[in-house]
Symmetry: C2
Subunit: 225 residues, 2 copies
DNA sequence: TTCATATCGAGAAACATTTCTCGTTATTAT
DNA sequence: ATAATAACGAGAAATGTTTCTCGATATGAA
């Protein structure tokens, strides 16, 4: 029997980064459809609503292992389950958060993460005044405890929401604590061993894309003279 | 005389989206180099620090119109100026912010935007309790005033930081107010006239990419049996 | 002064992603 | 029961992005 024949065939499919980025968007969109009582949906339909090419939607969804029905589309509940399974949203990952400024608090308070299989289990700060206080149900701990605690709790994911100047130091503490993936919101290039994965989340990037697009439309016509 | 010959030759160069996303990263990196007193830098050097291919760095920087010196590299001050010029960070864009929850407050309080040529000139909320209060020096206004005020102040850019359920409504108010570009932090697909540019900033996307990469490393090996 | 070297710039090649095309299949209407 | 249609799936083509290659040039050493 070949492995493709098994019922729950979880082949190790690989998704490109653009596809990966779109999957959560599909998921959220499908959730709203489901809430409105819809049962099935086609790629054409999704593409219309999300301003995407239907074929691209089909290719994106295919990586999750879903199978659709010709003339009908996909069953929304199945599709949601496949995306969640594929993105690993079923098994929770525990994470540490460093930095409890505005952004850190926004992340701490974001309910959505639970759905995405992410749980922030401890928050750290270097500000004496903040240590010991509670934010969104999390007691804030001193950042110099981070490495030790991460190792003891076997934490794998770290989130950096500190000012740029402090980011490198915090990243090193995380690496020391055995953390293997860092979600970095500080606008700073972290220098770390190559084994540690870094996902940089830079607000300025999105802004740059938008500004460029707006600029191109709203006549940056260069005078010919 | 051909237009290429002019001294300040600002040709309308186009940058791909990946390039646009990297430019702010280079900018920040170069700033820190400049602060440390460095004068020049090569693509090789940048690539090493930022984990990027040197050729890619060269191609990225080329779109800004910078010219380097063989064997030396680029003058950092020139390079910073070129990136700022190219991204339009010299002429300030005024923006409206809708939603003053944690994320909205983080955005309001983010000093960095000034450097990126973005100024949030007014913040809006629908919560009666918040209206009239002041956050980071901004008085919070009722969201039903948004459209009118945007039109009167000729605002072009809107930032949405409201819950997903309210996003569509706010987006429509922005459209009504003549806003042509929307930076959307709500995890919701906005349905708007095609003339309005929408840049979706979805936290879950970055998380999905990171989770997938971590998952691929940390043995999702499928048992052969 | 001449040579070796590091780096730029531009075009070519390789690779990745998106879009197109076509054959197949389930539903609905005749 | 049959035909028309909407939509899937898979492979091909087109497009976009990254990486490679090579000639030119500025610096520093012999």
């Amino acid at each position: 029997m070949t492995k493709e024949q098994t019922e729950g065939n979880k082949q190790e499919r690989v998704a490109s980064e653009p596809t990966l980025r779109r999957l959560p968007t599909y998921h959220h969109y499908l959730k709203t459809l489901a809430e409105r009582g819809r049962d099935v949906v086609s790629c054409t339909h999704i593409g219309n609503d999300l301003r995407l090419d239907p074929t691209q939607v089909r290719k994106d969804l295919a990586v999750t292992g879903i199978r659709g029905l010709p003339k009908v589309g996909y069953r929304i509940d199945q599709l949601l389950a496949c995306i969640e399974e594929f993105l690993g949203w079923n098994n929770t990952t525990e994470a540490f958060l460093a930095g409890t400024g505005h952004l850190g608090q926004a992340l701490l308070g974001y309910e959505g993460f639970k759905r995405y299989g992410l749980e922030i289990v401890a928050a750290f700060d270097s500000d004496e005044a903040k240590i010991g206080t509670t934010v969104a149900g999390h007691k804030i701990l001193p950042v110099d405890k981070l490495a030790n605690l991460a190792r003891r709790m076997k934490i794998r994911l770290g989130i950096i929401a500190v000012p740029a100047a402090a980011a490198q130091q915090v990243a090193e503490a995380m690496a020391e604590g055995g953390i293997t993936g860092i979600w970095n919101f500080a606008p700073a290039a972290l220098s770390l061993p190559p084994a540690i994965l870094v996902q940089n989340e830079n607000l300025a990037s999105g802004l740059a894309v938008l500004s460029a697009k707006i600029g191109r439309l709203s006549g940056l016509e260069i005078p010919r003279e």
